[in-house]
Amino acid sequence: MSDSYDTPDQRNLLDQTAQGVIGQPLDRPEGALKACGQATYAAEHDLTNCAEGVLVGATIGCGRVVRIHRDEVLAMPGVLAIYADQAMLRRNAQGTAGEAPIQDVTTVDYYGQPVALVVAESFEQATAAAKALRVDYDVTTDADFDPAAVEYEPSEEADELGDLDRAMDEAAFSIDRTFTTEAHNSAAMEPHASIADWDGRKLTLYGSFQMLKYNVKELADSLGVAEKNVRILSPYIGGGFGSKLGISHDAVSAALAARELGRPVRVTLTRQQVFETITRRSETRQRLRLACDRQGRLTGIGHEAWVTNLPDEGFAEPVTQATKFLYAGQNRRLALSIGRVQLTTAGSVRAPGEAVGMQVLEAAMDEMAEAAGIDPIEFRKRNLPAELPGEGLPYSSRMLTEALDRGARSFGWDQRHQQPCQRREGEWWIGMGVASAARVNILSKAEARVTLRADGGVLVESDQTDLGTGSYAILGQIAAEMLGVPIDRTDVALGDSDLPAGAGSGGSWGATSTGSAVFRACEAIRATLAHKLSVDVDELRLKDGLANDRPVTELLDKDLVETGRIEPGKTMKDYSQASYGAFFCEAAVNAFTGETRIRRMTGAFGFGRVLNAKTARSQCLGGMVWGIGSALTEAMEFDHRTGRLMTHDLAEYHVPVHRDVPAIEVILLEERDTVASPLQAKGVGELGICGAAGAVANAIYNACGVRLHSFPMTPDKLVGRLPDPVGA
């Protein structure tokens, strides 16, 4: 079989197998370890004689380091060394880079950028020394720190179809709105950390990464060593959300110091350093133009976005990604422009593109539906294209209508007042909003090894990571299902770069891609078992350790080991593939203060086969919580005079807390997508955020009658525009 996935696998094998574990809401196999604090994260590996490194961040926004006053700090107790090496990372690596990012910390590209590493015997000594280190700079005085004050240029050719200007002129109804969103930080709860340990020329790095096969290359290239001499271990990752796609400052500086000192070195970023030095999601400005006819059929869509990054970075937040395929309209213009600023590197943060693109599109769709006098759910359903606009490709599968309908029923959409300001409870205006969810689906190259042991147990191995996404659970379930082995006899080993290269965790592709590799390895084992039984593989029935009613162990004189592989193929090109869903939100807006509280939320999602209903649901829940943050509180705010990030910790950058999050209902729709993967599964890791904040914005409008075009929708933006709280 070719590795590439060229024709949809119509067999739906996982519906024929007998074990009955696929899709089940099983507990995570590593759950008890996590609940007991026994799962070992990057900084927690116990190495003898480990020295402690603390990074020193630049106190200027742009310029050069001219002098580091090493001597006074080297004299401090316990201090072992100070590094400001050419090889140290100036920026962290972008997702799937697979090569060294920009190095050399004698130049300062953004405020807080690491310029030195101080290593000492203890963490307290290193911290004190890092604080004391004086650095002289040559400051660049004309650097650009303000996205509103720089020039923008197209980052790619605009996607044009028909004549949007004319469609706007001729439309029965149209809107033309400009929205803004602020920069976001992944803010995973585990700060980036690395422990480096050299054995001769071989480096073992305990780190916190999403994509080991790329991270090995990035680290080897940064250090100038052979890839085969670099091993990365990331068995548990305390959240990633894009921020750990590529290697960052901790990994390279720890490795350099450990090599010099001849002993292990641990480097952990402080929380402030995570905010200041790890990729941000770019702030955006987005112009939405929508045009429709009297029947509420879209005739034109314009989505133009302006984003920023540092000079020489190839990444531009792909804001319009979902607008390309989501709604009809024969006159279209999608365009993305980029401006260059000296602020923290912009890169992938959970659902790059859709996270901020969808919330704005969905807020605009609400306005358009209102202008056309049509219920927003009906308006969306009326505008689903039969094929990908402009390209004529079919959709692989699309449960958007079902998600809108099922969600609406469960949420009680029929209770919504069409006009805003109709429902008041005490000080609070109450309103409801809806939004579609959409996120592109991607299959990525992956490899995994499956062993059916002579004792009847199963071992699944891959360098795939589990960020909390559920990889440990679902990869075991796929193998147990395919090989008819009880789940408690299935072991999964992940997060070791010496294991076969999985797809890595990012772009929502980990489960389907690495899962498909596991699936294929199991197919090879099934073929061997069928052969041993002298039956056709279609006649094979594997359940509870029995193969066609014979103990499978009787067929095995030794372990059966197979490596499965998958690569994206023609199915990726011949179809438009995405996961879909719908969000419903009930929000309360304080009539006096403009504070918004989310009262309840429902999400209904279709993403192909559900591999584990418990972990998939959690992914959706988590995404919706991110949507609440994006809608109401999250913003990286920079001082535009100096480039300094003012919201550089969790007291200033407000992620949702318990009290911000109500009971959230998640509905998982049954779907099989044979085009997406042989598992008939699509990605779910990011879907829950893609549009969620739009539902919040629409609920705010429905509550109090204020359309804000600026996320996050903080009280200060609302308070001056609210209706008279007493007169109403």
Binding site: D27, R28, E30, G31, A32, L33, K34, A35, C36, G37, Q38, A39, T40, Y41, A43, E44, D46, G78, S122, F123, E124, Q125, A187, A188, M189, E190, P191, Y236, I237, G238, G239, G240, F241, T268, T270, R271, G468, T469, G470, K614, T615, R617, S618, Q619, L621, G622, G623, M624, V625, W626, D649, L650, V655, P656, V657, H658, R659, V661, P662, A663
Partner: protein
């Protein structure tokens, strides 16, 4: 370097602190005692990942120096249960998927354990209607009282469900 010493009772065991007076209780647990179940998310009292119980009360161990705890009883996640012998709240976290990455989890569990006691003892919170009354154990009360424990994975509603299950089973018992 000035060193100082203290004796702490950690999960029922006497442990000697001999070291840098600047060391936080959190770093003492993680680095010296190798009790890495207690997590560091911010080192600034802003995330709750480092929550432990000191003499039965929850605190952010990153905001407290080890040397301040001579004679104190410290309970960390390791003292609450083990994978072989899970406490009820740990079991509930597993079955309700009260986590994803698991990094905030020990803090959530230590915090919830102490929080339930505070609630039972009638301590009011910012959302308690009348401070003189026994607070009703509503979801709003639980959420308010757990708001010092951030979870970027967004497992909040599952965490509340897990806590609620423990409350109900304790009532039943």
């Amino acid at each position: 370097m000035a060193t100082t010493s203290a004796t702490l009772d950690v999960n029922g065991e006497a442990r000697e602190f001999q070291g840098d007076p600047r060391q936080t209780l959190l770093d003492f647990l993680r680095l010296d005692l190798k009790l890495t179940g207690t997590k560091k998310g911010c080192d600034h009292g802003q995330c709750g990942a480092c929550t432990v119980m000191v003499n039965g009360r929850r605190i952010n161990s990153c905001l407290s120096l080890a040397i301040m705890h001579d004679g104190d009883q410290i309970t960390t996640i390791e003292g609450i249960g083990t994978p072989e012998n899970l406490a009820a709240i740990q079991r509930a976290f597993v079955s309700h998927d009260g986590f994803q990455c698991g990094y905030c989890t020990p803090g959530q569990i230590c915090s919830a354990t102490a929080m339930l006691k505070e609630l039972a003892d009638g301590w009011p919170s910012a959302v308690t209607e009348a401070v003189a009354d026994t607070p009703a154990p509503s979801d709003e009360e639980l959420r308010e009282r757990m708001s010092g424990n951030l979870c970027r994975c967004g497992a909040y509603s599952n965490i509340i469900a897990a806590i609620r299950e423990v409350m109900q089973s304790e009532e039943g018992a």
